[in-house]
């Protein structure tokens, strides 16, 4: 493994991923309550795992350019799809946990302001529950 530019870029991406995953894990233990912990856990580990995916994509693309075997390109594509799955699912999971915590009655620690306390939230009826009548044919509201 000689130090070309591509190799240096791959190693830098790998180190960024290690640093941010470590920071996320540290934040999980340093912050005082569940909301601030979610800040650290969601953002940092998503970013770190994103850079792990970037590393693997760059590594496989480099090998594909050097050796020309299609299986390297295939691995880059699959890693890209794993990256998209992570980017879509992780913030939504964090949102679900935060909402559950607030509904359980956990107050944000050291809070200076809480607009959600006592707010009257309106929810739509889920569309899946409707009967199969004309509602499907009406179009968007």
């Amino acid at each position: 493994m000689t130090l070309t530019l591509a190799v240096v870029v791959i190693i830098i991406l790998l180190y960024i991923s290690w640093i941010f995953n470590g920071l996320g894990t540290m934040g999980l233990h340093i912050f005082p309550d569940v909301y601030t912990r979610l800040h650290a856990a969601t953002k940092c580990t998503t970013f770190g795992t994103m850079f792990m995916s970037f590393t693997v994509i760059a590594y496989s693309t480099r090998l594909y350019i050097i050796e020309g075997e299609a299986r390297f390109l295939n691995m880059a594509i699959h890693t890209f799809i794993a990256l998209i799955a992570l980017l879509v699912t992780n913030p939504t999971g964090a949102h679900a946990i935060a909402r559950a915590a607030h509904k359980m009655g956990i107050k944000p620690a050291e809070a200076v302001k809480d607009d959600l306390e006592g707010a009257d939230l309106q929810q739509k009826k889920p569309v899946m529950m409707k009967k199969k009548d004309t509602s499907n044919e009406e179009g968007d509201k």
């Binding site: 995953n21 470590g22 894990t25 569940v34 856990a41 998503t46 890693t79 699912t89 946990i97």
Partner: protein
């Protein structure tokens, strides 16, 4: 010189250590959502280490499993959150 394979095995090992540190939060966490946060972080780290292991061993299958694991762990998190909210809606 260190090979890339060694680096990827090393990052999988590092993620394993981080998973153990997150598991401490699952055991300690004063409230239930704290434990769920730890579990969610562990899921993300498992996906990351699967990608690293897939690159180290040249198995594309590992990355396919990582995709499925990401989606399934997301559904698990959603169901736990729904359960914690209570069942009125």
């Amino acid at each position: 010189m260190i090979e890339f394979t060694t680096l990827f095995y090393g990052s999988a090992l590092l993620f394993g250590v981080l998973i153990i540190i997150c598991a401490l939060r699952v055991f300690l966490g004063p409230t239930t959502p704290d434990r769920v946060v730890g579990l969610d972080t562990i899921n993300t780290l498992v996906v990351g280490s699967m990608i690293a292991l897939g690159a180290a061993m040249w198995e594309t299958l590992f990355i396919d499993i990582a995709i499925v694991y990401a989606v399934l762990s997301f559904i698990t998190t959603l169901f736990i959150a729904k359960y914690l909210e209570g069942g009125e809606d």
